[in-house]
């Protein structure tokens, strides 16, 4: 049970054989999920909520990519689209070389053996009329992995693995605590031996002490089974603890992505800076600058032009150009060059953080008055 030190965070231990292959397990390109807004007498589509609007990322075998952001930013929809629990409007999803969006019927079902999900709410994601054993067993039977006594034995081993005493096998969800139910949710996902798990806020509904138990369990399982996680969360302290890389979402777009180490030390997107500075620090003596954002997240049915974060942005060089250009995700940052592997480059969507491909001349032609300048407000340094 050695601790994973910060120097090895990019290489999950124990999964060496699995990570040696440098091809991504999951590759998402320009993913869009738009939900139609209906209205009027005949319920015709009036417009669309752009829940996810052009998102690209990779997840490598054995690693944890965290998708973070506030409610409505599209992180959950992204996770569900990857599993085809909601249908994407555009873009490509490739899992282990297979085009996920092209699959149907039996092929999709076979693929789902490899990709599973752990839900946020362990209270509503378990069938109240099924015992723990039958819940965990269901996947084994559906995917023809085991039957009869063999299935029972596997259920027993899974319960051991997630830290539930075997006597719970015959109980019902209401007899279990929140943490225990979440362990059942994890056992159910693991039953079919997936390589990839979407963890959708798996610890948000749990108390601090139980949350720690479940985080440790997820890390142990990743190490032992070489699992890759897409970890969807809003709690930045949990994310820093568990993620190898982080992608920050705002209003349906990824606005910054980097290794966890770099993102927390040198956030460059003003939104990420505000998000990090808003995390309450459990140290009454801590003195730090807090960026309190004004206003709320705009509606994804009517996003602002140009940079989606513009109306709440605190970058000193914010000007008219921000409304004109949709900021591309560009490589930036002092820390990104040093010793980072190719897939953890630091990408930031902000035309006011240099260097940027949207040149000053172009910006000025669009009415810009303030030249891009590196802006890094003081952040908590414990």
């Amino acid at each position: 049970m050695s601790a994973t030190g910060p120097n090895v965070r990019a290489q999950p231990e124990g999964g060496a054989a699995l990570v040696a292959d440098d091809a991504p397990l999951l590759s998402v390109r320009d993913l869009a999920v738009h939900f139609p807004v209906r209205g009027g007498f005949f319920g015709r589509a009036k417009g669309a909520v752009r829940a996810v609007d052009g998102v690209s990322f990779d997840v490598y075998p054995g690693e944890t990519l965290a998708l973070v952001g506030e409610s409505g930013c599209g992180k959950t929809t992204t996770g569900r689209a990857v599993l085809r629990l909601v249908e994407a409007t555009a873009g490509s999803i490739t899992f282990a070389g297979v085009d996920v969006r092209a699959l149907g019927g039996e092929a999709l079902r076979r693929l789902r053996r490899q990709m599973q999900i752990v839900f946020q709410d362990p209270f509503s994601s378990l069938n109240p009329r099924m015992t723990i054993a039958s819940t965990v067993r269901e996947g084994l039977v559906i995917h023809h992995l085991a039957e009869g006594a063999e299935a029972d034995a596997r259920v027993g081993r899974l319960l051991d693995e997630v830290g539930l005493r075997r006597e719970y096998a015959s109980r019902y969800p209401h007899e279990l605590s929140g943490g225990q139910r979440q362990r059942v949710g994890i056992a159910r996902a693991l039953a079919v031996e997936p390589r990839f798990l979407v963890c959708d806020e798996p610890v948000s509904a749990l108390d601090v002490s139980v949350q720690a138990q479940v985080i440790n369990l997820l890390q142990d399982l990743q190490r032992d089974r070489g699992l890759a996680y897409l970890f969807i969360a809003h709690d930045l302290s949990v994310v820093e603890h568990i993620a190898d890389r982080v992608a920050v979402m705002y209003l349906g777009k990824i606005v910054e992505t980097a290794s966890a180490e770099v993102l927390y030390r040198e956030p460059l997107m003003p939104y990420t800076q505000a998000l990090l500075s808003a995390v309450p620090v459990p140290d009454p003596g801590a003195k730090r600058q807090r960026i309190v954002l004004q206003g709320d997240v705009p509606s994804p049915a009517n996003p602002p032009s140009g940079c989606v974060f513009r109306p709440r942005c605190h970058h000193p060089a914010k000007d008219a150009a921000c409304a004109r250009f949709v900021p591309p995700l560009e490589q930036k940052g002092r820390l990104s060059a040093s010793g980072q592997s190719a897939h953890s480059v630091h990408l930031v969507a902000c035309i006011k953080q240099p260097p940027t491909g949207i040149s000053w001349e172009e910006q000025r032609a669009a009415g810009a008055t303030k030249e891009p300048v590196l802006y890094m407000p003081v952040l908590p340094t414990p």
């Binding site: 049970m1 601790a3 994973t4 030190g5 910060p6 965070r9 506030e70 409610s71 830290g163 005493r165 605590s177 929140g178 943490g179 225990q180 108390d207 601090v208 002490s209 139980v210 949350q211 720690a212 138990q213 985080i215 440790n216 369990l217 890390q219 142990d220 809003h234 709690d235 930045l236 302290s237 949990v238 820093e240 603890h241 927390y264 505000a274 998000l275 990090l276 500075s277 808003a278 995390v279 309450p280 620090v281 459990p282 140290d283 009454p284 003596g285 801590a286 807090r290 309190v292 954002l293 709320d296 997240v297 908590p380 340094t381 414990p382």
Partner: protein, 348 residues
């Protein structure tokens, strides 16, 4: 505890719910004070009794629940337990106000937010319709809602979560209460909105000079907002201290466990320390120390003897026998609740 008479005094508060499984002693002998103008944090995990404590202060416990006789609740020296329901209604809203976790369920969906704020002024202060509306606009401005003249006519569903919580706070503040009880006021909100609401609470608390009892499970929120912290576990107060002491020198193993179990931004990424097991059901609190099965220090005495609140330092008390046998802290063991689980290895 202040030298002058505290604003709120609870003595031996016991609130019990009759259930099929027997009496659930949700709050089991809680004594605490909130001083004039003070912000006190009440922390603990679900099921520890913190919300029932808040409801008991307001005497909002409905059958099958009851506040046991012998419980004392005093506000500004007045014994709330002896008040009639009518007198109690006057206390609620006028002297004590409450902000709930889920703002949408605290608001009536079929009335405008202005009507709901104005109703408080009309019921409690007998304000005229026009005066009440003017008051509603003033309150919306106070809690930082832009365009209050327009927003006053909005319905709850037209507002974002953060704005709804501002409206709930505005309703709570109409009568300038002396005590505001905020039960997980930011738990349902996003982190950037949480920062706004906490700033608002600090701001109105200072401007209006009221006292705040802040109920939360988030120790980060406690560190940034309160001056004194009361930790509850299994229906009891297990530790109470000035906020700095709680974070720098927690005494009770439960408090210590909570602090260690929390992932922190910027901390070295080690395996998280867990508190094994979970809170026991309130129908069957363990004898002796209620935390002993989950505790890495427990010994025979903890099973035999229910620990009293020991004085640890100035304003610092802890319900743990380690106060009299401190040397045992140096010899932790695997807690009973962890034996045979995957967490056992991680605890050493």
């Amino acid at each position: 505890m202040s030298e002058t008479q505290p604003l709120l005094q609870l003595r031996n508060l016991r609130t019990t719910f009759s259930t099929d499984a027997g009496d659930a002693r949700a709050v089991d002998g809680v004594s605490l004070d909130v001083g004039e103008g003070e912000t006190v944090g009440l922390v603990g995990e679900s099921g520890c009794g913190k919300s029932v404590t808040a409801l008991s202060i307001l005497r909002l416990i409905q059958p099958p629940g009851r506040i046991e006789s012998g419980s004392e609740i005093r506000l500004e020296g007045r014994d709330l337990m002896s008040l009639s329901e009518r007198e109690m209604r006057d206390v609620r809203g006028n002297r004590i106000a409450m902000v709930w976790q889920e703002p949408l369920s605290a608001l009536n969906p079929v009335f405008t937010v202005g009507d709901q704020i104005a109703e408080v002024a009309r019921v409690h202060a007998g304000a005229s319709r026009a005066a009440a509306k003017a008051k509603a606009i003033e309150m919306l401005r106070l809690v930082g809602i832009a365009d209050p003249e327009e927003r006053v006519d909005a319905y709850p569903h037209q507002l974002s979560g953060g704005m709804r919580q501002r409206v709930v706070i505005a309703m709570a503040l109409v009568m300038s209460p002396s005590l505001l009880i905020a039960d997980e006021p930011t738990t349902a909100l996003d982190v950037t909105i949480q920062a706004q609401i906490l700033e608002l609470l600090r701001d109105v608390q200072q401007r209006m000079g009221m006292s705040v009892l802040l109920i939360t499970h988030d120790l980060g929120v406690v560190a940034e907002t309160t001056s004194r912290v009361i930790v509850m576990y299994a229906g009891e107060v297990v530790e109470e201290a000035p906020v700095r002491d709680i974070f720098a020198a927690a005494h009770h193993p439960y408090t210590e466990g909570l602090l260690r179990a929390m992932p922190r931004v910027g901390a070295i990424r080690e395996r998280l320390t867990v508190i094994p097991g979970s809170v026991p059901p309130p129908t069957a609190w363990p004898t002796g120390c209620r935390f002993r099965d989950r505790c890495p220090y427990s010994w025979e005495r903890c099973e035999r003897e229910h620990p009293p609140l020991y004085q640890i330092g100035a304003g610092h008390v802890s319900r743990c026998h380690l106060a009299v046998e401190p040397e045992r802290r140096a010899r932790p063991h695997i807690p009973l609740a962890a034996v045979g689980t995957a967490d056992a290895g991680a605890l050493r």
